[in-house]
């Protein structure tokens, strides 16, 4: 199990989701991915994508105009 990060800043919906989707395709179950975005829409879209694809959001927060979402790959 490894931890990965993904910079999706300065991209707008749905690019943060596409980047997340493509990165997770490379990961193994149990890995975690921390995605940093500047589009607040990611706060809804990435969790929605995770719900329909069976991954788990372990935390999400807004900090200095950035959205940071941590996903556990299932």
């Amino acid at each position: 199990m490894s931890h990965f990060t993904l910079d999706a800043r300065r991209t707008l919906c749905p690019m943060p989701v596409i980047k997340t989707q493509n990165k997770i395709a490379e990961l193994e179950p149990g890995d975690t991915l921390e995605v940093t975005c500047t589009d607040p829409g990611a706060l809804n879209d990435i969790p929605a994508w995770c719900r329909i694809n069976g991954h788990t959001i372990t935390s999400s927060r807004e900090q200095d105009d950035e959205v940071i979402i941590v996903i556990q790959v299932n």
Binding site: C13, D39, D45, N53
Partner: protein, 352 residues
């Protein structure tokens, strides 16, 4: 969590736009026991979320991607695919031409169905479904043009349109009995009531606005900005950043060799900050004011002139002088004290 397909189940890939029609078409297939997965293509021109995410005035509105929302309502997987680069050829060289604006709707539909067919083959699916309704849209869904999509996409009789299938010849999934043709629909025309009634039957609420456009290319103002960009560069090419920036700010072209993009409020200001290293910028230093990007190849005199325009949109618009900082895309900086341009001197034709 979406279901996995059972061994005996036929599998359909559904083009999911986020609108009501594709939602209903997929639901009809699910009701017939078909395993459905959604596919959503991102061209760069999709309306989904973009300006809503940028503009502060929209920050209180719920932000959602309607294609993801549709998939969640249906309980299906959704694959969002970036086709930005491939789509350039569709937009720049549409075989069937443009609609009322720069929308190459028929070529776009043919391209998306052909990409869906490719996905279907790569993922061992059996057929493709779309939410097309005969006669609903003037370009891509005209009765005489629906067969063109079938033929030129290469999908042939593997393309099923559940909402209007009864108006069309039976496709392979119908002939083979994978789906029951009798339970498909015969919708046609621009009347949306049958779709709304079906949505109510399926208890779908809060779906995206019926008949709402999902592509910026159908918008005249956006199309005008795109054409201006191509004309100024003498090339019908673009990058993602170019087409994103067409959605943001006021665009003014005082001279053919440069254009100003002036943010309209804090949300756009923050968004444009991300482009400071790529563009020459004008920042208002003595007053509150917008960040402006300068696209093109302006001279020093052009930048002084542009600074007066930018100052016009600052809180110093009525001041005698406003201090601005101009930062070239090379990193070279200069401070200017400029007289804000009076509104009467800003020519209407500068607005793109």
């Amino acid at each position: 969590m979406p279901q996995q397909p059972k061994p005996e189940q036929k599998k359909a890939v559904a083009l999911i736009s986020g609108g009501l029609d594709s939602l209903l078409a997929a639901k009809i297939m699910l009701e017939q026991g078909i395993h459905v997965e959604g596919i959503n293509f991102y061209t760069g021109f999709c309306v989904e979320g973009h300006t809503h995410a940028i503009r502060k005035k929209d920050k209180d509105k719920p932000k959602r991607n309607n294609a993801l929302w549709s998939a969640e309502q249906l309980g299906i997987k959704l694959h969002i695919i970036d086709i930005i680069d491939e789509y350039k050829d569709v937009l720049i060289n549409p075989k069937h031409g443009y609609g009322a604006n720069m929308n190459p709707c028929l070529d776009c539909k043919i391209f998306m169905v052909s990409k869906a067919k490719q996905w279907m083959e790569e993922n061992d699916f059996d057929f493709i479904i779309t939410g097309e309704v005969m006669g609903q849209r003037p370009m891509s869904q005209r009765k005489d043009l629906l067969p063109v999509v079938v033929r030129e996409s290469g999908a042939d009789d593997l393309l099923l349109r559940p909402l209007c299938a009864k108006n069309l010849a039976a496709t392979l999934p119908e002939r083979e009995g994978w789906v029951n043709r009798e339970e498909l629909k015969d919708f046609s025309g621009r009347n949306r009531k049958p779709q709304m009634a079906l949505a109510a039957e399926y208890n779908f609420e809060d779906y995206a606005t019926p008949a709402g456009g999902c592509c910026f290319l159908t918008d005249k103002n956006y199309s005008d900005k795109l054409v201006d960009l191509w004309k100024a560069r003498n090339s019908k090419d673009y990058e993602l950043d170019d087409i994103m920036l067409l959605k943001v700010g006021r665009h003014l072209r005082p001279q053919p060799n440069y254009k100003l993009i002036v943010s309209r409020e804090d949300g756009e200001n923050k968004f444009l900050q991300g482009y400071k290293k790529q563009f020459t910028t004008i920042e208002i230093k003595s007053h509150n004011g917008p960040l402006s990007l300068v696209d093109g190849e302006p001279s020093d005199d052009d930048l002084k002139f542009a600074s007066r325009i930018a100052a016009r949109f600052s809180q110093g618009r009525d001041a005698k002088n406003v201090t601005v900082k101009v930062t070239r895309d090379t990193g070279e900086e200069a401070l200017y004290d400029v007289q804000p341009m009076p509104a009467s001197e800003i020519q209407k034709e500068w607005y793109v």
